[in-house]
Symmetry: D3
Subunit: 298 residues, 6 copies
C-alpha cells in the first residue's frame, strides 16, 4: 500500500472543505465581479470555476458584473470620447446605448463560460422581470445623463432562476419611472441585490488587496473590521478613491441583513475558493460585532 | 336607456372575441417579430400591445426577434462594411461581436416595452440555459464565419419562464460544441423553438402581405394552403427571395407538431390581434389538410 | 392595404380593454344576478356571456342568484298562495320545499348556459360544503318561517372550485344549527360571500338604473358615492323600497374588505362588460373615500 | 378486572373490521341509493351513517341517487298524470322540469344529512362540470321525451371533490349535445360513474334481497355469481322486471374495470356496513371468475 | 329478513365509533407502551392491533416503548449484575451497550408485528435524525452513568415518517453534546415527544389500573382529574412509587400543549380501543379544567 | 502577492473535483461498508467523512453495513460458540436474536458518527418499511437457521428518507413470509438495494486491494474489467474465497441497471474520495463494455 503521497493530500484538502460546505449549504452568495479578474483570461477562468464549484457543492451564487473598460473601448470605437465627472461616466443617450450593448454582451460571454463548465447560467439585466428600478443620479448637482441610483429591487426573477437551478448573472442596467434606460454602478447593484435577498455573503473582487489603514503603507492592510470600525473609518475622512463609496455601500448592506462582506483581491487566482474554503482569509472582511473572523467547523 | 351606440358596439367586439379566447387558452404562440414592425415606432407599439393582450387573456406568447438592419447600422458605425453571400451576412469575429451586442440591446428594449404595459418580460438569448445549440452554416460550401445552423433546442428555460408567468423574448444567438458564439437566422430560431415546444401557432410578421401565387401579381395572394400545397409550391421552383426558406421552415415545423403557421403583414396595425380574434384572416395561413381556414366558435 | 375600417376598430376595442384586464387579473368578482336579467332570455344570454368572458380573461367571477318570481309561480302551481310580510316571503315548510326545488333548478339552468359557452360551471347551494349557516329571521318580531339570516360563511368549497378552474354558481339556501333548511335573501348571500372572500368587486344586476338622490326625479341618478356619503344617505331616511337594505348591505361589505360595489341596471345588455371594460361607468358605484370613480390605465 | 363483557365484545368487533379497513383504504365505492332506503327515515339515517363511516375510515364513497317516487308525487301535485312506457317515465318538458327540481332537492337533503354527521358533502347533478353527457333514449322506437342514455362521463369534478375531501352526492340529470336537460336512470348513472372511475365496488341498495334463481322461490337467492354466470343468466331469459337491465349494466361495468358489484337489500339496516365489514355477505355479489366471494384478511 | 341478531349488533358497534373517528381524525396520539402489555404475547398482539386500527381509521399514532426487563435479562446473560439507585439503572458503558442493543431489537420486533398487520412501520431511536438530545442525569447528585435527561427534541424525522404514511416506533436512546449514547426513561421520552408534537392524546399503558387516591384502597381509583387537581395531588406527598414522576411528567406535557393524558391498565385487552371508542373511560384521565371527561358526539 | 504555495494547491484540488461533482450530482451511490474499515477507529472516521462529503456535494450516498466480527464477539460473551458451514453462520434463534441486537447497535453508532459531522442520518433495518423480504437459504441443502436469501426489495422507505434529506444507513436484517427474522449477507443486501434503486455506483469496502488475476501474485491486481471479462473470470473457477459470490453479485447488479461497481481496499484512508474525485482509480472496477475506466471531465 504505497499510494503516492500527493493523492492522500488531495483527500485531506477535500475533507478540510467539509465544514465550510456544510456551513454555506443553500446560502446565497453575491459576487461582484470586476476589475482585472474580468480582463485577464486566466483569472476570468478561475473566477468562473470558483463560482461553478460553489454552485455544485450546494451554495447559491449570483454574479453581478460591470464592464467599464469595455464600454470605454467601444465608445472610442465609434469615434466618441468617454467623459467622467467625479468618477461617474457622463452618459448621454448614445453612450447609454453603447453601454447597454456592451454590458449585455459581457453578460452573455460570462453565461457561456459557466455553461461550458456544465452548469446552466441565465444572464439578465435589471430590466428583466423589472428587477432594478432607479432614478437619475446627479454629480454634484450636475445632470450627467443616464446614470442611475437604485430606488427599488424586485428580486422575484432571481429567486425563480435559483429555484429552477440556474446560475443568475446580472448586468447593472436599470430603468426609471418612465421606463428610460440607466447605467448603474455595479457595486451599487451588487449591494442592492445582496440586501434584497438577505445574502449570506457579498464578495467584491477588486484590484486592491483590501482596505488599508494607510493606503500608502502596504503593510497596513486591515484583515477584518466590525461594522462600527468601518463606520468610524468612513467618517474619519482618510479613505480615498473608489473605496469610500464601496465601504459605505457595504455598511448599508450589512445593516440591512447581509451577514458578511469581503473585499478581496481578484488578481489572486481562486481567491473566492480560498476565502470560503480555508481558514486563512484573504483581503478585508467586514463583520458584525461579536462575530469571529474565521469560521470554525462546529 | 339611450346608451351611446358606440358603447354597445364595444361590448359586441369583446363578446366576439370569446370563442377565440377559449380556443387558445394556455396555448403557446410563437411570434417571429421582424421587418418594418420593428422599425416603425407606432407599429412596434401595436405589436407589443397585441402580444401583451394575448398574454393577459391566457395565451402563452413567446417573441423571437431579429435585428438585421440595426446590426448593419452598427457595423457601419465602427467603420466596417457589411458583407453578404447568398443573403447570409458574412460574420467574422468582430461582426459577431457587434451582432451579439446589438441583438441583446434590441432584446432588452423589447423587454422594456412589455414591462411598460405591466406584464413582466425576461429577455434571453440562445446561450441562456444553453437553449440554442448550433454548428457552422456554409454558404454554397464557403465559410462565412459565425453563422449557425440550429442542431438542438433545450426549451427548459422557456418553460420555466412561462411557468413563473414571465413573457419570454428571445434573440437568436447560439453556441456550438466549442461554445463559440453564432448568429442564427431569426426565422430559423422561431421555427426551431415553435417545434421544440409544439406551439399552437407560429406567426411571422413580415413586410409582404403573404405568399403570392405569382409575386408580380398582387391579386394572387394565397390566403390559405395545406402543407401538401405548400410542398408542391416549394418544389415548383416559382418561389423566390427569402420566402422559399421561410416556407420550407414552416412546412418542417408543421410536420413536427406546430398546428398552424401564419405569414402576415407586420405593417398592418394590430395584425396579430386581427388574425387571432376575427373571422377574417390576414396574410397566408398554412394548415393541415382537413383543417378549415377560419375557426368557428364551437 | 385598404383593410376594412371596422376591422381596425375591433382591434382598438380589444386594446382598450388591456388595462382593465390587467387590473382585475385573478381578482374575485361576485355578481348578484337577479331581476329582469334573469327573466328575459336575451338579457340572460348577455349576462352569461359577460361572466364567461370575465372568467376567460383571467378574473374569478362567482354568480349568486335568486329566483323569487319563479318560486311564486310554482307556489301558485301547486295551489298555494304566496304571502309576504314586510317584503319577506312567509316561508312555511311546504313553501320552503318548493323554494329549494325551484332555486336549485334555476341554479342548474345557469350552469348549463355557462357550460354551453365552453366554461365548466358547478352549481351549489349554501348547504354544499356547509357554506351558508344561518338562523331564523323575524319580520318585526313575527315568525315568518324558514327565512334565514346568515350567521357564518365557510367559503372553502368556493375556493376549491375556483382552484379547480370551475365557475361557481350559488343559490341562497342555507341551514341552521339544527340543519333545517332556510331561504336566504340573494342580496344578503352575495354580500356575505363577497365579504368572506374579500372580493374586488360586488356587482348587483337590478331593475333600476342605480341609486337616485330623489327616486321621483330620474335626473338625480347618483353615479358615485363614497362609503360616508352612502352612510349619510341611508340614515337620512329618504331611501325607500328594497334599496335601503341593499345599500346597508353594501356598506357593510365594503367596511369588511370588499373594494367596490356597483349597483347597475341589468336591463342594459352587457352592462357588466361595459362597467368593467370601459371608462364610462354604469349605474351607481360605492367607493372608498380617496378612490377615483373611473380607473385609469397605469 | 371485571370489565363488563359487552365492552370487550365491542373491541372485538372493531378489531374484526381491521382487515376490511385495510383492504379498501382509499378505494372508490359507488353506492346507488334508492328504493325503500330512501323513503323510510330510519333506514335513510342508517345508510347515511354507513357512508359517513366508510368515508371516515379512509374509503372514498360516492352516492348516486334517484327519486322516482318523489317525482311522481310532485307531478301529481301540479295536476299532471305520471305516464310510463316500458317502465320508462314519459318525460315531456314540464315533467322534466319537475323531475329536475325534485331530484336536486332530494340531493341537497342528502347533503344535509351527511353534513349533520360532520362530514362535508357536495351535491351535484350531471350538468355540473359537464359530467354526464347523453342522448335521447327511445322506448321501442317511441319518443318518450327527455329520457337520456349516457354517452360520455367526465369524472373530473368528482375527482376534484374527492381530492378536496368532500363526499360527492350525485343526482342523475344530464344534457345532450344541444345542452337540453335529460332525466337519466339512476342505475345507469351509478354504473357509468363507477366505470369511469374504475371503482372498487359498486353497491346497489334495492328493495329485493338480491337475485333469485327463481323469483317465485325465495329460497333460490343467489349469493354469488361470476360474470360468466351472470351473462348466462341474463341470456337465459328467465330474469324479469327491473333486474334484467340492472344485471346487464353490472356486467358491463365489471367488464370495464369495476372490481365487484353488490345487489343488496336496502331494507336491512346498515346493510352496507355489514356487507363490507363482516364475512357474511348480504344479497348477491357479482365477482370476477377466480375471485373468492368472501375476502379474507391477509 | 331474519338476519342473525349478533350481526346487527356489529353494525351498531361500528356506528357507535363514528363520532370518535371523526373527533380524532389526523390527530397525533402518542402511546407509551410498556409493562405487562409488552411481555404477555396475547396482550402485545392486542395493543398492536389497536394501534394499527387507530392508524387505519385516520389517526396518527406513535409508539414509544421501553424494555427494562429485557435489558436486565441480557445484562444477566453476559454475567453482569443489574444495579439500581433510586429506581434508576446504573448504566456504565457495558450496560449502555447492552441496553441499546436490546432496545433496538425490541423496537424492530414491534415494527415486525405492525408490518404483519399490513401497516408499514419504521423503528427509530432518538439518535436517528438527531431526535432526542440529552444530558447526564444524576441520582441524588451521584453519577450513575449514561442515564439521560432530555434537553431537546427535534421531531422532524417523526413528521417526515408520518407524512410518508409510516407508523413510527421509537425507542428511548439519546445522545449528549459530545454524541455519547444515553438511556432515557421511556415515560420521559413519550412526554417529551408528545409535547414537541402537541399531541392530542398521550396514553400510558401501565401495570396499574390508574391513579388511586389511596393506593391501599382499590376502590379509590380516580377516573378523572383536572391539571389543578393533579398538581395538588403531586404536592400532597401521598403519591409513591413510579407514579409520582409519571404524574409530574403528564402535568408538564399538558401545560405545554398536550390535550389529554390517560394512564390506563395495559393488562386489559384492547384498553386503547376501549378508551378511545367507547363512552366508558378506563383508568385515570388528566384533563384541562373545563373539559368534560367523556366526549360526546357532536 | 506572495501567498503561501500550499494554499494555492488547495484551490487546485478543489477545482479538480469539479467535473466529478457534476457527474455524480444527485446520483445514488451505495457503499457496502465492512471489514477493517469498520474496526479501526481512524479508518471508520475517514469512511464516514467521505460519505458525508459525498452527501454534502450533492450525491445521494446510502450505507449498507455488516457486523460479523461484532456478532461473533457477543455470541461468545453469552457463552455460545459461533458456528459456520460453508462460510455461512449457523443462525439458530438465540444467535439470530444476538445478531439482530448487534447489527442494530452498530447501525446506530454509524448514525451517530454521521450526525456528529452535521448531516442527519437515519438507521434502519430491512424490517423497516418492509424493505427486505427473504426466504431461508440452505447451505448445501442443510438448514442453517435464520440465514436469508433476498426475494424482494421495497425501496420506498429509502427514497422517502433521501427525499427528506436524511442519509440512510441500513443493516441487513430481513423477514420472510411468516414475518420471521433473518440475517442477510451484507454484500447481498448492498447488491439488492443498489439494483432496486438503479444506483450509479456500488462500492465495496473490503480488506483486499481488489481482484487479483492470481491471488498469490500481488502484482496481478486487475484494475478494471468489463462485465464479460468478469463473467469469464467467474466461470473459470480460479476465483476462491469470498470473492466468487461477491463478483457474481456484482455482475448481477450491473446486468440489472447498476452503472459501475468498485471493489476497493477499505484500509486505504479516504479510499472512497480518492476513487470518486481523482483520475487514479483504486482497486478493481467492473464496467460496462464500451465504457472507459477513468471518467474524463466533459
Amino acid at each position: 500500500m504505497d499510494l503516492d503521497q500527493s493523492i492522500m493530500q488531495k483527500a485531506e484538502v477535500l475533507i478540510e472543505a467539509l465544514p465550510y460546505i456544510q456551513r454555506f449549504n443553500r446560502k446565497i452568495i453575491v459576487v461582484k465581479y470586476g476589475g482585472s479578474a474580468m480582463v485577464d483570461e486566466e483569472l476570468k477562468k478561475h473566477v468562473i470555476q470558483d463560482v461553478v464549484l460553489l454552485k455544485l457543492v450546494g451554495f447559491k451564487p449570483i454574479i453581478v458584473h460591470g464592464g467599464g473598460k469595455e464600454i470605454s473601448k467601444w465608445v472610442g470605437k465609434v469615434g466618441m470620447e468617454p467623459q467622467f465627472i467625479n468618477g461617474l461616466r457622463v452618459t448621454d443617450e448614445p453612450t447609454m446605448e453603447i453601454a447597454e450593448m456592451v454590458l449585455n454582451r459581457v453578460n452573455k460571454s460570462l453565461v457561456q463560460l459557466v455553461n461550458e463548465l456544465g452548469v446552466k447560467a441565465v444572464g439578465i439585466s435589471g430590466k428583466d422581470g423589472m428587477m432594478l428600478q432607479c432614478k437619475k443620479r446627479y454629480a454634484d448637482g450636475e445632470d450627467i445623463g443616464y446614470v442611475g441610483d437604485i430606488t427599488g429591487v424586485d428580486p422575484q426573477i432571481i429567486y425563480d432562476l435559483l429555484e429552477k437551478d440556474f446560475l443568475p448573472i446580472i448586468c447593472p442596467v436599470g430603468f426609471d419611472e418612465e421606463f428610460k434606460t440607466y447605467n448603474i454602478n455595479a457595486d451599487d447593484a451588487a449591494c442592492a441585490i445582496a440586501t434584497a435577498m438577505k445574502a449570506e455573503k457579498l464578495a467584491f473582487l477588486t484590484d486592491v488587496e483590501g482596505v488599508y489603514r494607510d493606503f500608502e503603507d502596504k503593510e497596513s492592510l486591515i484583515s477584518e473590521m466590525t461594522i462600527d470600525e468601518a463606520l468610524n473609518f468612513v467618517s474619519s475622512g482618510t479613505l480615498g478613491g473608489g473605496m469610500l463609496p464601496k465601504l459605505q455601500n457595504c455598511i448599508d448592506a450589512m445593516k440591512q441583513g447581509v451577514s458578511r462582506v469581503h473585499i478581496m483581491d481578484g488578481r489572486i487566482p481562486h481567491c473566492l475558493l480560498l476565502e470560503i474554503f480555508t481558514n486563512k482569509g484573504i483581503g478585508t472582511a467586514i463583520i458584525n460585532s461579536g462575530d469571529e473572523r474565521y469560521y470554525h467547523a462546529e
